[in-house]
């Protein structure tokens, strides 16, 4: 992977692109969530990322770490449900791992996201294969070792791989066998996050 230095403005663009992607796909996320959840994932993520964009545009944080830490805190304060704490923790822990450097390398971002994804697994008590966000996030972080495009592709593939899985966590787990055959909404929105990252890195 190239040694491009990523600055705070890059991370603000990432959050903005993520918000736009979630806006575009909100209806689909809600549709997926109505099959195995309670039909609000799109709306909740839209509300959260809109708040993130508003915040980073009003007061752009100075470092990559600060952008993600503030974005995570904003998601925790505005999303609710399980997604708020989980996505909030992902970004906050990643941001903390990036420290206060003015610029970070792609490799540093990969390591930071690795810490963030670990924190999500701990908080939710879940592992890959449980039909959750992690099924997109874990392969995405691995893909980052190659390129942003590879990460986005791995996340998308990871999200699709949840279709035949049996849900073991969250509200979908109440469905048992009936959760099989549906793509996980959380894994799907996680893939959007990485698609947005690839988009701003292009």
């Amino acid at each position: 992977m190239s040694g491009t230095a990523l600055d705070a403005a890059f991370f603000v663009r990432w959050m903005t692109a993520a918000a736009a992607a979630i806006d575009r796909e909100a209806e689909r996320l809600t549709e997926l969530d109505s099959a195995i959840g309670d039909a609000d994932h799109g709306t909740n993520m839209q509300r959260g990322f809109a708040a993130v964009v508003k915040m980073v545009e009003a007061e752009p944080p100075a470092t990559p770490g600060a952008v993600l830490t503030a974005a995570g805190r904003q998601l925790i304060s505005s999303v609710g449900g399980a997604s708020g704490p989980l996505y909030g923790t992902l970004l906050r822990r990643t941001g903390k791992a990036l420290g206060d450097a003015a610029q970070v390398s792609a490799e540093e971002l990969r390591a930071g996201l690795g810490a963030g994804v670990d924190a999500v697994g701990k908080l939710g008590g879940s592992a890959p294969g449980d039909k959750t966000m992690l099924d997109a996030l874990v392969p995405a972080v691995a893909g980052l070792a190659t390129s942003f495009e590879a990460a986005a592709g791995a996340a998308e593939e990871g999200a699709r791989s949840t279709v035949p899985m049996l849900a073991k966590k969250g509200r979908a787990s109440y469905l048992g066998e009936r959760s099989i055959g549906h793509q996980d909404p959380g894994a799907t929105s996680s893939a959007l996050l990485f698609a947005a990252l690839a988009e701003v890195a292009r």
């Binding site: 609000d40 449900g81 399980a82 509200r171 109440y174």
Partner: protein
């Protein structure tokens, strides 16, 4: 689907403004989504805070008042509130004797209340939490999110609320709440799906002439689907499930709860069938409450909750309560 709303985005805020207009005994902060009893913090009293997604009214805001909750945090429809709301509520009601969070067992509620407890403790507020997980329709195992919190939430909030009102310390109020959780089991059925305002169409597809056994309060499908059954058959099925898990040796409190769109006429008829089964099974009934208390928007259907009570729990249940949704005594 026709709904008595303006736009879906403002449903929760509009309802809170309505609560404020109807209940001057409550302080309703519609912007920050916190409902607090007006005389809070009550000197020398442990405070109870609960909250959860909206759509289950009168739970939880309707249970704020003397003898029950000190504050409630309503989230978006079927979405857990955020930690900021819970911390704000805790700070508003803490008298210095600590706060008990009453949390229904859903991943979102658990995570947000957990974060809120940490933040509140950072602010010097002593917090204990009790998790309500009474729904026997869900297998309780390490491979699922565990049992859902449903009807027993009302028992926990009422009984622990009375314990706090009597001046018990936080550890005792928490212990009483845990005893209620341990002693309670629920089972619900849906005769129709519910419709969230944001989506505007039913959250699941229940063909005409069928019912969903073991449904959750967000329209989550349950154990199985069957051709429509009679009230008698539903009572037999639901209580079989409950009594398989709870073998009461003491008298029980019975909650026959409507999901939102089932008339009281039907609920009372169902309540008669519930009593018949309990008589047949030699379970003594201490008190029965019939009505719409832990609802699921416009879902048709009902749930039945039993709570086994000793003398102390029964005394606390009978203690006066003055809230929008539950009111007796004094």
């Amino acid at each position: 689907m026709r709904m008595l709303i303006n736009v879906p985005e403002t449903v929760v805020g509009d309802a809170l403004r309505g609560m404020a207009a109807a209940h001057p005994e409550l302080v309703v902060d519609a912007e920050n989504r916190v409902v607090v009893r007006r005389d809070a913090p009550v000197t020398e009293k442990v405070a109870l805070v609960s909250g959860g997604g909206s759509g289950h009214e009168p739970l939880h805001a309707g249970f704020v008042g003397p003898g029950m909750l000190d504050a409630a945090c309503p989230g978006e429809v079927f979405t857990s509130p955020v930690p900021d709301q819970m911390v704000r509520a805790a700070a508003a009601v803490d008298s210095g004797r600590g706060v008990l969070f009453v949390v229904k067992n859903y991943t979102g509620d658990v995570l947000n209340f957990q974060m809120a407890a940490e933040l509140a403790e950072d602010e010097g507020i002593q917090v204990a939490s009790v998790l309500v997980d009474d729904d026997v329709a869900v297998t309780d195992s390490t491979f699922t999110a565990g049992r859902r919190g449903t009807g027993a939430t009302l028992f926990v909030e009422k009984i622990a609320g009375a314990a706090a009102e009597e001046g018990m310390p936080l550890e005792r109020v928490e212990a009483v709440a845990r005893q209620v959780v341990r002693s309670s089991r629920s089972f619900g059925v849906a005769l129709s799906a519910c419709t969230t305002p944001a989506k505007g169409s039913p959250t699941f597809d229940l063909p005409a002439g069928e019912l969903e056994l073991g449904v959750g309060i967000h329209g989550e499908p349950g154990r199985e689907r069957r051709p429509m059954m009679t009230s008698r058959e539903i009572a037999d099925f639901a209580l079989d499930a409950v009594l398989e898990d709870l073998e009461p040796r003491l008298p029980v409190l019975v909650l026959v709860n409507g999901m939102g769109a089932t008339p009281l006429l039907e609920l009372y008829g169902f309540s008669a069938e519930v009593r018949r089964v309990l008589d047949e099974r030699k379970v003594a009934v201490a008190r029965t409450l019939v009505g719409n208390y832990v609802t699921s928007l416009d879902m048709a259907g009902c749930s039945v909750t039993l709570c086994q009570v000793d003398g102390e729990l029964l005394r606390l249940w009978d203690a006066p309560v003055q809230t929008a949704g539950l009111r007796w005594g004094r």
